[in-house]
Symmetry: C2
Subunit: 376 residues, 2 copies
């Protein structure tokens, strides 16, 4: 660090230079985050110094969090669900599985997750000391129920189902997983980090949430399709007793107990989430999802005309395209500014159609893809 500080103007100019190197979201087709809604940004600013790590000092922000949890619970099939706003999907998944581990109290605990589970489950297995068992997928990239059943043994503490898989946007058969969970007395955690703000607004209805008996906890992230600011993850439990293993005494705070993984915790992102949920309402989120699904359809129709098929009919606004010469084509698209990503198995081009995109971006992408495929 310099001994003397730099004048504000100079620092702001350094920030601007750095910001220019960052990607604007305009041609980003690889991200599950997006530009937050303007009202979320305003709320974030107003609550910038609020710390939910000691919410006794910030009872106003705490009330907002409680209302957010109630709203999210209602979206996810149970207005009486409890929980809190986390730093994101990883914290939510850690805490859900930590609860399962501590309540089940097995010597050598294991969890069964679909092979499509987000890479953070490997991180979580290491952190919590839970063996991770990966169930195979069916031809539509949903978890294979028989495979899950075969992996369960007396040391299994939890099954994980994915509602909106990172690579394929697929939804596991949560009702069938729930039957397995109930008959084996296991926790069933649903990772809807991406899907939580999408699936309720799709034309087709899916049983994926607390309306399915047997679902014990759900991850759903406001900072993804919820249009809130980072860090706004959500963790919801059906049963309040699930919060007990997470409880810790907080002797020198204005509160007595805390359930979060982090101590100091952004009140700004809590207010942002409240603001955008209140402002959009069900109608607003429904419109956003419909817009993204319309663009997703455009994308698939356009690429089909180029002879490029999706691996599955898109369930939500995530598309895995079977593009020939994948690495080469992605490189060429990158040179045109498009940022795409890949699925692992099978390898395909992964595109996420987020609200920051426009119909004209989709048209431009298709014509650029045509050029990169050498088919213009």
């Amino acid at each position: 660090m310099n001994e003397k500080g730099l004048p504000e103007k100079e620092v702001l100019s350094l920030l601007t230079k750095a910001r220019q190197k960052d990607t604007s979201y305009d041609k980003v087709l690889s991200a599950m985050c997006t530009k937050p809604h303007p009202i979320a940004v305003k709320a974030h600013m107003q609550f910038i110094s609020s710390n939910m790590g000691d919410f006794g000092l910030f009872p106003g922000t705490k009330e907002l969090e409680e209302e957010v949890i109630t709203m999210m619970g209602s979206m996810l099939g149970d207005g009486n669900a409890c929980g809190y706003l986390t730093t994101g999907g990883t914290e939510s998944n850690i805490q859900a599985l930590r609860t399962a581990r501590n309540i089940k109290n097995k010597k050598k605990p294991n969890m069964v997750v679909p092979d499509s589970a987000h890479f953070s489950f490997d991180k979580i297995a290491d952190i919590l000391g839970i063996e991770i068992r990966k169930a195979s997928l069916d031809r539509e990239f949903k978890v294979d129920i028989d495979s899950v059943g075969n992996l369960i043994d007396k040391n299994t503490i939890a099954i994980v189902g994915i509602a909106g898989s990172t690579e394929f946007g697929q939804i596991d058969p949560i009702d069938k997983l729930a039957q397995l969970a109930l008959s084996n007395d296991l926790f069933l955690h649903v990772d809807a980090a991406f899907g939580g703000f999408v699936i309720p607004y799709l034309d087709k209805k899916y049983d994926f949430d607390f309306s399915v008996k047997g679902v014990t906890s759900i991850t759903s992230d406001p900072h993804k399709m919820g249009m809130s600011t980072i860090p706004a993850g959500g963790l919801l439990f059906k049963d309040e007793a699930c919060l007990l293993p997470l409880e810790i005494d907080t002797p020198y705070l204005t509160i007595r107990k805390q359930h979060s993984l982090a101590g100091t915790r952004s009140g700004a992102a809590v207010a942002a989430t409240y603001a955008v949920m209140k402002h959009l309402g069900e109608d607003g989120y429904s419109k956003i999802v419909k817009k993204c699904m319309k663009m997703t359809d455009m994308l698939v129709q356009g690429t089909r005309k180029l002879g490029v098929e999706p691996l599955i009919e898109p369930v939500m606004n995530i598309v895995a395209l079977d593009v020939p010469d994948l690495d080469e084509v992605r490189k060429k698209l990158r040179a045109k500014g498009w940022i795409t990503s890949m699925t692992r198995n099978p390898r395909a081009m992964r595109l996420i159609v987020m609200p920051h995109l426009k119909e004209t971006s989709i048209e431009l992408f298709i014509s650029d893809l045509e050029m990169c495929l050498g088919r213009h």
Copy 2:
């Protein structure tokens, strides 16, 4: 959630009502966080949509983070230290001990922490499955070296030292802990979550950082005395190999590897930390610490005149006061708007003299304390 969203104006008015219930920091004497510096808030806003979970999209923000880590390393005795900005002290401490656990690879690992360690170490012990052993304190509330030595056995993976304890603001004898760590081949993690931005600027010099041979990792939080926004914690390792156990493949991102506990991660708080460190420089932080220490001296001199002594001469801007009728007096102070907290053992009134306070606040507090003691 409502079906129809509420107009922006109405949402903003709900936010304002909630914010009014939150405590302003003016009379908060219990918090280790404070109002962030205005330049941190500006930077935070400019980078509000930046996500360090996929920093390939945000190479500008990533450069700022690298410079912050270098600046923090220099402040803490090693400009070549490596690390990243976390969500706060808890994540930093988890990751430091996870590294130690995984490298040491003991069947029943344990860690030795001072009895003064923050409550989050109990949380961490549960999460990581590490037995926690608490060493007793000496009469000045520093960890007792013999007690630490007696708790070490063949399953010990790490010793933790505190540089700025939450309750007493005390600094453990890190050099002596380092000797123990070196002779027993253990990790030595220093929790300077609060002290990291204070101790380097105290008049008295302390050996507490990487300049002490044997210190392997340090937690230091920009969102405490670093005047940055939440969530800005810092984790630094002396040796880059310590990052390896934290590494995870990130198949569908623009980057290949990630070391953070969280996936999606605030780029806004990274930019905020950069901005405030660049703007204040060593001189700026030094002035802030001197101002806080001057107010701390005023506070102690004032309470001494009331016959109320601190448990130890304050080392930094944290004071534990031996107030009679503690609960009653705290309640009366609360009625006057003052928020204080408590130490556990011995029970005393705990006051943190943060930069949001003014000399006039200290004078007012002393006169209110006099009244609450019934000595006016």
